[in-house]
Structure formats: C-alpha cells, structure tokens
Amino acid sequence: MCTNVTRSAAITGSAKGPSGWFSVDTATVYFDHPFHAPLEHSLNIDLVNRAAGAPARVAIELSAASARELVRQITAALDDEPAAVPLSDVKAPTISA
C-alpha cells in the first residue's frame, strides 16, 4: 500500500533466528510491499526484541489468503484447549494502529 500504517502488539514468547533463540516482546503487522516474497503486497509480521536492535527479528511475508488461513488455524489451535489458555499473559496486551 506504500504507507507507514503499521499495527503492533505486545507479546510474550520466543522466536528462533539465524543466531538461535531469543525472547520477543513485540509483533508488528502490516499489509504492504514485501521485501522477499514474489507478491505485489503481502501480510508482513515481524517478531522482535525491541531492546536488542534490528537483527533480533523473525520475519514472515504471506499472501493475503494464506495469512487469513493462518489466523483461522491459530484461533482453532487455541480453541482446542480453552481451559489451558488464559485470556491474557502479557503485561500490556495492547493492539494499536
């Protein structure tokens, strides 16, 4: 879309990058031009550790349809065991535009 519109969410967990596992605290999400995927636009997600700098990132670029399917499967996986899934486990579970 050629804009700077980016959503972000505070997250708790880990991700594995080229240098191994690291803690992640933020997910940024945007629909715009990809860096690598052979698409005009893609749904891009960056899982990052904000304090660790640019290299502490795991990135994915998905087609819009596959991103929607991923959302469905994440939701389904969480719904499989609702009793085991607390509603909130992050300190600041905010999502903002």
Binding site: M1, N4, T6, D32, H33, F35, V48
Partner: protein, 249 residues
C-alpha cells in the same frame, strides 16, 4: 561508450550531519558524467534498488543510492527497514536532507558534469516529487508511481509527513517525469489526473507516461505479479531520454 563501472558502499554526512551509508556506482572513463540520486522504495535499500543504480550507471551516469533507513541500523537492510517502519517511517525533512547531501556528494566527484537528477520508486517516487519541490538545485526528477502525492485520507499525514506533496507543486523547480500504471491503487489513475492538472495549472515542465495493463511497481523483475516487461521497456526508454535531455549524458 566504455561500459565499465566501479561500485562501492560509502559513508557520507546526511541530514543533520548524521553519517549514513550509500551505494555509489560510477561509470568509468574520462567523463564528464552526469549524476543521479536513486531513492529506494518502502521495503528498503534492497538488491533491486542497487541493480537499478547499476542499470543507470551502465548508461554513463554516476549514481548514489542513500540508505534512508541507515539510522535504524546496523543490520541487514530488511531488518533495518522493519525497525524504521515500526518507528513510523522516516521524516520528509530527514529524507530531503539526505537527498541534498547525496546530490552534493555526487557534484563533488572528479569527472562530474555538475548536473544531478533524482529518481525514486514507490515511497521514493513521492520523495522524488517532494525533492523537485523542495530542493532548489536538482536538474531533473523522476517519480515512479509515488503514492500519497495526493492525500485524500488525512490519516496519511502525520508529524513526519505533514504536507501532501501536491500542495507544494507551485514551488517545483526541477523538470518532472512521471511513470504510472493505470491499474495502480496508490496512486490511482484519478489521483495521477489531479497531479497532472496541478502541474499544468502552475505551468511546470513535466511529462507523464501512463500504462494500461500495469499496476504498482511494474519495473520490478523480482515480483512476477507486478512486473510488466513491455511497459517497463518503454518506460525505461523515456527515463533515459529524459535524463539525457536534462542532465546532458
């Protein structure tokens, strides 16, 4: 024409004196050589941008492609771009400062003929339009499908991008070449119409080339969904004719 070139990453003082990295490609031979600042698209200072710089250099120019996200580094350009984006992107003032510094760097090189143009793609197309309006000593500007030159949604304006470039058209001082796909959604064909009307109203020197069957980023051979070979070949011929006319290649 001798087709050799020399390419390297250099460091220069950009906006506010900040050190930024840039890709410098220069045609070999005696010159004098005209120069072009190559502005990367929103995904960042990627391989495609540097290939574009070499393509222009192959035609006898010196080019400099500043890494506009340098301040969010160090790191791979894609990681650095993600960090810059998460911070709301780079400000127009900062980009104009980096382009001004890039043009000065090119003019100072041995063999430079003193003429400097700018070309930008996607968000860089918008920045090229803005540069044509705000930087007084540019000799030519090429806007390739720059989005948000016309701003219909006020949410697209913020502290870092406070003014719609179209509103600065009256002060444009460089001749402008615009390349657009008629299926693009940003800018839409209707928005390109409005930009052209504003250029006409102010009596600016410009030429637009608009292509059916093409959308956004139709030069980009790395994106099969977007790439349109026939239209891209024609449009590149206009880019080189424009630069030759205004920069004296």
């Amino acid at each position: 024409m001798y087709r050799g070139m020399h390419c390297e990453v250099v460091s220069l003082a950009g906006h506010n004196g900040d050190q930024i990295e840039a890709y410098h490609a220069r045609a070999l031979g005696d010159g004098p050589h005209p120069s072009v600042v190559v502005i990367h698209h929103m995904p960042g200072w990627d391989d495609w941008t540097l290939e574009v710089a070499r393509r222009i250099t192959h035609h006898g120019y010196a080019t400099l492609s500043p890494h506009l996200y340098s301040r969010s580094g160090p790191g791979d350009p894609d990681d650095v771009a993600a960090k810059a984006r998460a911070a709301g992107g780079v400000s127009d003032d900062q980009v104009m400062g980096d382009i001004t510094a890039s043009a000065a760097y090119l003019r100072a090189q041995t063999g430079a003929n003193g003429k400097v143009g700018v070309i930008g793609f996607c968000s860089g197309g918008r920045q090229a339009y803005l540069a044509a309006c705000r930087i007084r000593d540019l000799d030519a500007a090429v806007d390739c499908w720059g989005g948000a030159v016309v701003v219909d949604d006020p949410a697209q304006l913020d502290e870092k991008h406070p003014v719609a470039p179209i509103d600065l058209t009256a002060q444009m001082s460089a001749p402008l070449l615009g390349i657009f796909g008629n299926d693009d959604r940003n800018p839409t064909a209707a928005q390109v119409d409005r930009t052209e009307a504003e250029l006409k109203r102010h009596g600016k020197t410009y030429e637009f080339h608009r292509y059916d069957g093409a959308g956004h980023a139709f030069f980009h051979w790395g994106r099969p969904e977007a790439y349109r070979g026939e239209q891209a070949i024609d449009a590149w011929s206009h880019v080189f004719a424009f630069f030759a006319r205004h920069l004296g290649a």
